[in-house]
Symmetry: C2
Subunit: 168 residues, 2 copies
């Protein structure tokens, strides 16, 4: 899929088929995350790829909005050094989600509110934490992905030169 | 450009030609940012598009690593509510940068260390802050974009089921 089309049509979606992702797709998604830039090229992220029902269930118990995680075909938890900006985690996550969507795979980021629980479930070393994971899976009805997730008009979001500035 | 190709080959790059970006390209980049998902679809970001030399110079003075900002053809500052996660700012920024690169335009995020200075320069209201901006421009030599920005091998970044876990 064309890059702009993939970016423009990608919506976060929490309904997935049981159909597994093949190894090639998973590898491309991880490569997409790996290639995301980061502050001073530190590449601070580690990706924990989760496929077993046990780990998906355990991770799902670590957040308030993670009930869809066990239904996901595949989950990638993003571990980051505590002191590093989450801006770079967002960059890597978006790369993974757009690459997935370009192959017809839906996704949704999830926030792990229970950071100590997540640390235990994922066996994280000191200094690393997982605040976000991404759930992936084929959507039951691709045409319905994103229905009901409108965006604010561009004119409301974009300002020129200064906050509140109108177009020249 | 194909989505995966754009994602895989995009590197952060700080050298730009003076050539301006046309209105269609700028609109697609802003649309790419607008379409990024956000926590509970709050769409917390506001994009301040900067083109005048005065504003680029003023913004450049607000960070330690922003000397390339005045050379950029176009700069988009990302304003976020202080309480909202920067993960979503990173998602929007990555969408904009990948959409730009798919059209041959290089970019690099910059961090604005002087948040009070940025507030003054951009006229931000209370509650919003700009911690990141993205500089855009055509690269002098597209073939050299990203040379010298290697990534760690996938095997070092990816773990399975748990931190340190090997592939099944």
């Amino acid at each position: 899929m064309d890059a702009y089309a993939a970016i423009r049509t990608k919506r976060d979606s929490r309904s997935y088929l049981a159909r597994p992702l093949d190894e090639g797709v998973k590898r491309r998604i991880l490569q997409a995350g790996r290639m995301a830039g980061s502050s001073t090229n530190r590449q601070p992220y580690r990706f924990i790829a989760i496929e077993t029902a046990e780990q998906k269930e355990a991770l799902s118990a670590c957040g308030g909005f993670m009930r869809h995680v066990p239904q996901a075909a595949w989950v990638v938890a993003i571990a980051m050094p505590k002191e590093h900006t989450l801006f770079d985690a967002g960059r890597a996550a978006q790369n993974m989600m757009v690459a997935a969507w370009a192959e017809g795979i839906a996704s949704c980021p999830v926030t792990t509110h229970d950071t100590e629980g997540t640390r235990f479930v994922l066996g994280l070393p000191d200094g690393l934490q997982v605040l976000h994971a991404v759930a992936f899976g084929y959507p039951p009805d691709p045409a319905r992905v994103g229905v009901g997730r409108p965006r604010k008009p561009l004119a409301e979001i974009v300002h020129y030169e200064r906050y509140g500035g109108a177009r020249a």
